[in-house]
Amino acid sequence: MLFRQTESDLVQSARAGDGAAFADLLRPEYRTALRLACGLLQDVDEAEDAVQEAAFTAWKRIGNLREGSSLRPWFLGIVANQCRSVKRSRWWSVTKAEPPDSEAPANDLLASIDLRRALRRIGHDERLVLVLRYYLDLPFEEIATTLGISPKAARTRVERAVHRLKPIMQVQGAAV
């Protein structure tokens, strides 16, 4: 782009109410944010809507973004919260669409690796740390910043979430 502004210019303009400037600021984060939302919601349309709503929320709260702090973990945290709201609002339809565990043949779970299905069966917080770690490939330090916890706590949460997947997800050849 020929007329690209610096990040600090964009922040300043966004704080003054320029939506296009804030959108430009989010452009490098859009793909990651959408992937996070897709990982959490598993629906592209809902994910796009959630990221857009999160962008508006972030814009309104841009005054909370500290000078010199990174935009990405802050924005990803807002996206994650937005996705949690979306999940709550559609909870009934999700539970209706998902058959109970007992209806799924045990050998079916053993035979096929259906990670998407497994992710739908764990809680939002567990799904969130797994998506941040294994889909967005974030280091524990950045996961910690996104969640507002320590890196050690982030590591523990990831380990617990992996442990929760054990009965559901079978990885061929891996020690589960």
Binding site: F3, A16, A20, Y134
Partner: protein
Amino acid sequence: MDEQILFDRFHEALDLEPRPGAYERMRFAMTNRPVALKGRPAFRIRWSKMGLRIAAGVTAAVIVIAVAAAFIGAHRGLVGSAPASQDPNVKVYRDMIALDYNAMTASTSHCNTIQDTGCQAAVNAVIPTLQKWGSDLSSFRTPLRFVVIDGQLRRHLTQTIADGNAAVAFQKAGNENGFNLAMNAAFYERAWIDPTMFAIVGSYPRVAGSYHDAFGFTRQSLAACVNSTPGPADLACTALLKRACVGAAAQICESYVQSADTQIQTFLIALLQNPAPSSLTTKDAQLQADLAKADTALLATTDALLHPDAAKVDAGELSYSDAISSADGDAIAIGNP
């Protein structure tokens, strides 16, 4: 559990790229929806005097350079198209497109509701930039690889002008439904133009990893549309052909048209980003040409919805159906690349 296996499994299960226009739609919404910012005046950009001077100087320099590049580009090539590989005009072509795009975005003004008094001025400001862009494209010797998308970009620029003029006419007539229909169409065109521009200049994220993937995705969707079976992207074949599009239903039809057009655009961008192997160049060109016909038919349908002209809407939808059938035939002819 082995960490690497988890990384692999998550990527296998969840990997996707944003659809064309997704970011641009968000940006457009943010540009046109005011929010109340805490403790800050809304829609006011603050510049220091020095900042303004520097920005003005840089902008002037960039404009001079870019205008010179566009001028040279426009006068170096003749009207028509040039072979794709190693075409020296590609850079000039891309620079010209970036320059015209920036001129268009710089002219953006506000026109959101029928009460908005700035609509006429907004439309008056943007139309010359769209006309100039169309004129630049017409007079350029388009690199072969971009001929199809270039042709469609020109059609969408023309439709954007028509949408803007229609919105102003509806506003003057106090026709709110018509105004909303026209503004939705104009907003959509903007959301179509953005990813197309980024795809042409080469900065748009890849929507497929290879020609095989791009073609496979396209073929599945076309086959699903023709056979009324589930597919990876909804081309709205059934919805468009079975629905009356008059009166209040026009907005529903418009949204189906836009949804279908976004998918067609995805295919065109995927095929642009992943050129066919030389053995399939001719067949791929035919596929792209028929996809472009489908896009053109959707544009005609949108235009007919705005006027409104039920017969032309039906004709547009039939043309769309024919183009999709032809494209499906092209895909079958290509087979399994």
